[in-house]
């Protein structure tokens, strides 16, 4: 057996003789079990509820009687956001996002009914998800086991005997890393197997290649992430004179990597690139929309140019002589304008968020936790990008629905207003079918590569950095 594997086996068996290690593994196991159960039940509940309400909303839409299409545009529709299968692994920002938008003409409503909105402030302390345990607590366990890996050999005097046996520093370091990684995999692999089983069954056998790639990437990136922490633990232990100083250094490092750096960079990003508060954001949109006039009023001064050009083009004196419904035409124009204004504000907001997040993302080169956190949420479909993608798809659907109603009005509603004794102008309810049902489609996995390039490169950078550190320390380390 190669000496690295002998060292790994010896380290593993010695570490697992420590009862405290078993207690910590047990504690982590309980947390993971809790996380799995809650995320599984949350997934089932939300997706059942989403599916139920989506169907109900569709029936309600189709069951509407004959009516004026603009009344239907205001009757509106709902867009429901189902949970992504991998949200059972990483809930990410899921709880802080709403999952339902009311879609109506002229208005871009915000997403409602987030978990956080229904929870106590305790949620601010962070949810327990499988990903959180793997990202934060498992590295702490690895540091707790790994701090003695070489420092204790130095303290006990066994280091000199090991090196005298012909073992090089590099072999010793690699052996300890392998031993620690085996312990890490002993926790990680069963967790991923449970995740796989749940992921498989929660999709009712409809496994897509996209979801499979996501799962494999989650597996790979977490494997790398945990390996990085094994290397850090062993290198710090090797560079420390005593186990005590190694433990203090590693706990300090853990606090820095998992708490201080991510929060500090997030706070700095928000300070340098302030985002508008929600009320201001919505008020600004409203203000800009009002500047463009009221499309409900065909005689609004803002649409005079449009009116004049139509009258000239059709050679008529009044809008009632036009061969189509002029009000519908104005509303279609108004919808275009209000959608453009909303999208412009929304894109500006996203640019601010991107600028804020750029700080956090750049921190990934200093902190592998930031890299895996962003990457994991993105792969699980629980990141802000996926959420905004839902908002964009919902807005696109809303716009298409409103314009479809405007189109029906232009086509089927007469320019003549009904008299006081006449029936209101309506169209047949069969037209409601022409608006398709909203179905949220999660972005393809290639968008993860686009948006999380920094995180991917940061993980690669860390692999290179730690490999370089192993090479350097193998040459520079001293016995005493």
């Amino acid at each position: 057996m190669p000496p690295q594997l002998l060292i790994a086996r010896n380290f593993r068996s010695n570490a697992l003789k420590n009862r405290a290690v078993y207690l910590l593994i047990l504690f982590i196991g309980i947390l993971i079990t809790y996380a799995v159960i809650t995320s599984w039940s949350g997934f089932v509940k939300q997706n059942e509820s989403t599916a139920h309400h989506q169907t109900e909303t569709r029936h309600d839409w189709l069951d509407n009687p004959d009516k004026h299409p603009h009344r239907m545009a205001h009757y509106g529709n709902f867009a429901f956001r189902p949970k992504a299968p991998l949200s059972i692994f990483d809930s990410g920002m899921e709880s802080f996002f709403g999952n339902t938008i009311f879609l109506e003409a002229h208005k871009q409503n915000s997403v409602n009914f987030s978990e956080a909105g229904f929870s106590t402030g305790m949620l601010r302390f962070g949810e327990i998800s499988v990903a959180m345990v793997l990202q934060i607590l498992l590295p702490l366990l690895l540091f707790f086991i790994g701090f003695t890996s070489i420092a204790a050999e130095r303290e006990n005097g066994t280091l000199k005997i090991i090196l005298t046996q012909g073992i090089s520093w590099k072999q010793l370091i690699l052996g300890k890393i392998i031993g620690l990684a085996q312990i890490a995999m002993g926790v990680f692999v069963p967790v991923m197997l449970v995740t796989f089983v749940l992921w498989f069954f929660l999709q009712d056998g409809h496994i897509t290649s996209d979801e499979t790639v996501r799962l494999l990437l989650v597996f790979l990136s977490y494997g790398i992430y945990l390996l990085l922490f094994c290397v850090i633990a062993v290198l710090v232990s090797a560079a420390s004179k005593t186990s005590k100083s190694a433990l203090i250094s590693l706990i300090g490092l853990w606090l820095m990597l998992t708490i201080v750096l991510p929060r500090a960079s997030q706070a700095l990003g928000s300070y340098l690139y302030p985002a508008p508060v929600k009320v201001t954001f919505l008020a600004n949109i409203e203000k800009d929309v009002l500047k463009e006039g009221d499309s409900h009023n065909p005689d609004d001064i803002h649409y005079k140019a449009l009116k004049d050009s139509l009258l000239t083009a059709y050679g008529v004196d009044s809008t009632s002589q036009l061969p189509f419904n002029y009000s519908g035409f104005v509303m279609a124009e108004g919808e275009k304008i209000s959608a453009r204004i909303y999208n412009s504000h929304f894109d500006n907001l996203l640019r601010v968020y991107d600028a804020q997040n750029s700080f956090l993302k750049a921190t990934a080169f200093l902190d592998p936790f930031v890299a895996i956190k962003n990457l994991s949420m993105s792969l699980a479909g629980t990141d802000y990008r996926t959420y905004t993608d839902f908002q964009k798809q919902a807005e696109a659907y809303r716009y298409a629905m409103a314009q479809k109603m405007n189109e029906l009005q232009i086509k089927y509603i007469s320019n003549k207003k009904p008299g006081p004794d006449e029936k209101p102008v309506v169209i047949d309810q069969k037209h409601w079918e022409e608006v398709p049902e909203f179905k949220y489609v999660q972005p393809m996995v290639n968008t993860v590569f686009e948006h999380e390039t920094t995180s991917f490169f940061a993980l690669l950078f860390w692999i290179g950095l730690l490999y370089f550190m192993i090479e350097i320390l193998s040459k520079e380390l001293k016995v005493n």
Binding site: N10, K160, I161, T164, Q165, G166, I167
Partner: protein, 231 residues
């Protein structure tokens, strides 16, 4: 064979070892005597390749340590002042682990023979090292050294803290290893043990080997007087 050629080690302004010249042939036991800080452990660490000389060379079987630090490990074994090893493992398991690291895969019987040869009682073989006395642990250390079949043995205060009986047993084993052709360098404070076990004795002071005597040519009392006068 061990050889020091003008071996010098300096830490800043402190001269830890000054121009040491020494040859220890197969079958010889060379005891280095001296107070703390005299340069005994520095000499051993230089031969082990754990520190690099400021100038000069340390050679093991003609191979320069600083040029081939891994290669020379095949030729030497080392027993520190306190052999701690792994308390959770038994004597046999410790021996098996360390000899495997050196590339020797012995059967359980061979490992038992090595421990018995080092003077350990057979009933202790399968006991955890946590329950061993210091003398018993030193014997496991000897077994680890012997298992390597090394022709050079470096001992750093090996009998420190051992009771007279254990110390005597240790001396017997060292002598038997020398008789088999092992060159042995032993750093010690124990004048009488050095006189009893060594073939040659060197007295060090402030990094210098100030006196070298044949152990046969001097009585214990004379050696003590010389040591006290020298240091």
């Amino acid at each position: 064979m061990l050889e020091a050629r003008s071996l010098t080690k300096r830490y800043g302004s402190h001269l830890a070892l000054d121009n040491l010249n020494l040859i220890i042939k197969p079958g010889e036991i060379f005891a280095l005597l001296g107070q703390n800080g005299a340069g005994k452990t520095t000499t051993i660490n230089l031969f082990l390749g754990f520190i690099e000389p400021t100038s000069g060379s340390a050679l093991i079987n003609g191979i320069a340590v600083e040029e081939h630090p891994q290669e020379i490990k095949k030729h030497l074994a080392y027993i520190p002042e306190t052999v701690t090893l792994y308390p959770n493992l038994t004597g046999l398991e410790n021996l098996q682990y360390f000899s495997s690291l050196a590339g020797f895969n012995y059967s359980k019987q061979q490992l038992s023979d090595l421990l018995a040869h080092a003077g350990l009682q057979s009933q202790s073989f399968d006991q955890k090292l946590a329950g061993y006395s210091k003398g018993m642990r030193q014997k496991v250390g000897i077994a680890i050294a012997v298992a390597k079949k090394a022709k050079v043995l470096l001992l750093d205060e090996p009998t420190s803290g051992l009771d007279p009986k254990a110390s005597n047993e240790f001396s017997e084993i060292i002598r038997s290893l020398a008789a088999e052709g092992t060159a042995i360098l032993m750093a010690t404070h124990d004048i009488f043990r050095a006189r009893e076990v060594a073939t040659s004795i060197g007295i060090m002071r402030q990094g210098n080997l100030v006196s070298t005597i044949s152990a046969q040519d001097i009585s214990a009392n004379e050696l003590e007087q010389l040591y006290l006068q020298t240091v």
